[in-house]
Symmetry: C2
Subunit: 115 residues, 2 copies
DNA sequence: TGCTCATATAATAATATTCGAATATATCAT
DNA sequence: ATGATATATTCGAATATTATTATATGAGCA
């Protein structure tokens, strides 16, 4: 008996991936990639309003994508599982490659249209 | 000049990841993992109604996650970029591991409560 | 051409997600 | 305890996503 391939599995998997479908959350993850940051620091770096930032961090927490450490009144966030970064990097590579190809196509099209 | 780290980049990245946030799309991707299938076959395997299936396939197409090949009236779908599968497998591993840990915790909790 | 099968698209209703404003909690210093 | 700072939560409105029904396209065949 395994959970793989069941409705419940796909449900949980999609809930996990839901974390990736907000530009703001991706930016937060990117900032945490090289080490922990406090909520305040993240706020300054991203410009996201406090409440909204806290909401996004709550989603990351719920999916156990980040860990927190309290120091006084500050809470420091960090990546909980490096595979998260690895998975995102794979998708990033696909994206960057596609943008390059499309950029090239756009350039070629521009040349064509001059003729 | 690079697109990485820009608002546009995170926007595009989140749109790509949007593909992963539907249990049905994850199931479709899983079925295509080992080779192409026609829309009809996918319909039979998943039980998803034709129109809805077609909509999900359209989203996968838009994000260039799948390729299509026409043979007569049938359209065969296949994975366009293997990194897609690789990225999903990383997330899957995280998920399976977590379920195992939580299952163990639930079992321990049950034992505790008997006492 | 007209018919049928396979697939795609459009429109709509139900549902889920996002963000901002207000409020609550937690820690520290006085 | 009171006040100040940092973070979290709740609620509601705007927006986006999903599934269903109906309709359209496109290929093959009589």
């Amino acid at each position: 008996m395994t959970i793989k391939g069941t409705d419940l599995y796909y449900q949980l998997h999609s809930e996990l991936c839901h974390v990736f479908t907000s530009p703001k959350r991706l930016e937060i993850i990117d900032l945490l990639r090289d080490g922990e940051h406090s909520v305040q620091q993240l706020g300054e770096m991203t410009g996201i309003p406090q409440a909204n930032l806290s909401q996004h961090l709550a989603i990351l927490r719920q999916q156990k994508m980040v860990e927190t450490r309290r120091d006084g009144t500050c809470v420091y966030y960090s990546i909980a599982d490096r595979r998260l970064v690895k998975a995102l990097d794979l998708v990033k590579k696909m994206l960057v490659e596609r943008i390059k190809v499309e950029g090239r196509m756009a350039a070629e099209l521009a040349v064509e249209m001059k003729k």
